[in-house]
């Protein structure tokens, strides 16, 4: 609710400040502050008068929350009337200050308001500071397949597959140059030199049955010389042939390799 401040500057203008009061305690605290009062010694008559003036103003402005403020108004009026009563004459018993009824809640409210102000001053997430607000899936490379060197057994069964698939093909013998093992070895090395790696099956494409065997023997030879390595994903799959460029390859144990 927007409170209104009576502009006392003397020019008769009347300004409505749109700073909302959060409730009766807030208004009361505002009055204490505005009049620079000691919260423990509130001149109740003066504060009550001002409080009621504000309520009137709130009503005049047709602000719908005026009701929230009425209970406190009643309390203030009640305290004021009790203050007017003569002090009881009892020698030992000190009379309780009727204002205690509002001092305690007011103090507590003032503290909490200060606590709220302190919270407000912190660096708030999504207001002052920010963090990434999306899943980080895109921020690292997709898991590379873990590669392992294949064993002689794997190679043999892969070769069996190659043979099985080649039988159906019609190959024109006369077009083919039948090469020696040495020639095949240098042929493979040359091809690997051009493209960093080759599919195992690629090496056998469109070859005669005899040439298939020579190629396979060439691969075994190159493996023995540690000039190439054949790897496949740990969980099985496509085999690839790599040229060995460094003496110690980055793959796991190769005890079972040819």
């Amino acid at each position: 609710m927007p409170p209104a401040t009576n502009d006392a500057s003397g020019d008769g203008s009347f300004s409505v400040r749109l700073e909302p009061f959060e409730g009766p305690l807030d208004l009361l605290l505002f009055l204490v502050r505005k009049n620079e009062l000691d919260i423990y010694d509130i001149p109740i008559a003066r504060v009550t008068k001002q409080y009621l003036e504000y309520i009137d103003l709130i009503r005049t402005l047709n602000l719908d929350q005026a009701g929230d403020f009425l209970a406190m108004a009643a309390t203030l009026v009640h305290i004021k009337s009790r203050m007017l009563l003569p002090e009881p004459a009892g020698p030992e018993e000190e009379a309780e200050d009727p204002r205690q009824e509002i001092i305690q809640p007011l103090l507590e409210y003032a503290r909490l308001k200060e606590a709220a102000a302190l919270l407000e001053k912190r660096h708030l997430l999504d207001r002052d500071v920010f963090t990434r607000d999306f899943v980080s899936d895109e921020l690292f490379d997709p898991e590379e397949e873990e590669l392992v060197r294949v064993s002689l057994f794997d190679l043999l069964s892969a070769f069996k597959e190659v043979i099985a698939h080649s039988t159906g093909k019609v190959l024109l013998a006369l077009d083919r140059f039948e090469c020696t093992l040495e020639e095949k070895v240098s042929d493979i090395l040359e091809r690997l030199g051009r493209s960093r790696n080759l599919l195992f099956t690629e090496l056998f494409t469109d070859l005669h049955r005899r040439e298939l065997v020579v190629t396979f023997l060439a691969i075994l030879e190159l493996l023995k010389l540690n000039l190439i390595q054949v790897v496949q994903p740990a969980q099985g799959g496509i085999m690839r042939v790599y040229l060995v460029t460094q003496p110690s390859p980055a793959y796991g144990s190769d005890d079972n390799t040819t």
Partner: protein, 184 residues
């Protein structure tokens, strides 16, 4: 190891979607002891304190998190093209009451603020800043409220003990109140 440990931790902090507890770092980095991890995090925290860095490494809500430097918030606003979220003063006051007085009933919050707070509680719940922590054994079994872990994260608090105690706000005289109202 230390240099590498720091780098690994930075990498994980970068990828993490939530504040990262030391425990989680330990589970992820075998062979690193809690002591080593903590000291690497502290070193990293110092590295990030440099003016030339765009983020800060903060300890919040029981873990560590990289956060943008507050002085860059205007750039970020422009960058994200959406107005940052705000809490009204009423919501902030209500939240402060719950943070300091939890576990607390709605009726107690209302007594302290002097106004009804039903709508504000709903907003704070929706924003995930407060939660139902239980029900009181009273007629109507009223709901007891408390703050959430998200609250700690939003307000950059390690834990609730980082909040000053209410008693520290005692010197409430006319003057301090005056000063407070001025800048609020």
């Amino acid at each position: 190891m230390t240099t590498q440990l720091k780098a690994i931790i930075e990498c994980l902090l970068y990828l993490a979607e939530e504040p990262l507890p030391v425990k989680r770092l330990r589970e992820t980095i075998p062979g690193a002891e809690t002591r080593e991890i903590v000291s690497a995090v502290e070193e990293l925290q110092q590295d990030y304190e440099s003016e030339s860095r765009g983020m800060e490494l903060r300890e919040v809500a029981g873990g560590y998190q990289l956060r943008s430097r507050p002085e860059f918030k205007d750039y970020i606003k422009r960058f994200r093209r959406v107005e940052p979220s705000r809490l009204s003063r009423a919501a902030m006051e209500t939240l402060a009451i719950i943070a300091y007085k939890q576990p607390i009933l709605k009726s107690e919050v209302e007594r302290l603020r002097g106004v009804e707070v039903g709508g504000i509680l709903r907003t704070l719940m929706e924003k995930g800043l407060i939660r139902v922590v239980g029900r009181k054994n009273l007629p109507g079994r009223p709901i007891i409220y408390g703050t959430t872990k998200k609250f700690l994260g939003v307000f950059e608090l390690k834990d609730l003990s980082e909040l000053p105690t209410l008693e520290e706000f005692t010197q409430i005289t006319g003057e301090t109140l005056h000063a407070y109202r001025e800048d609020s």
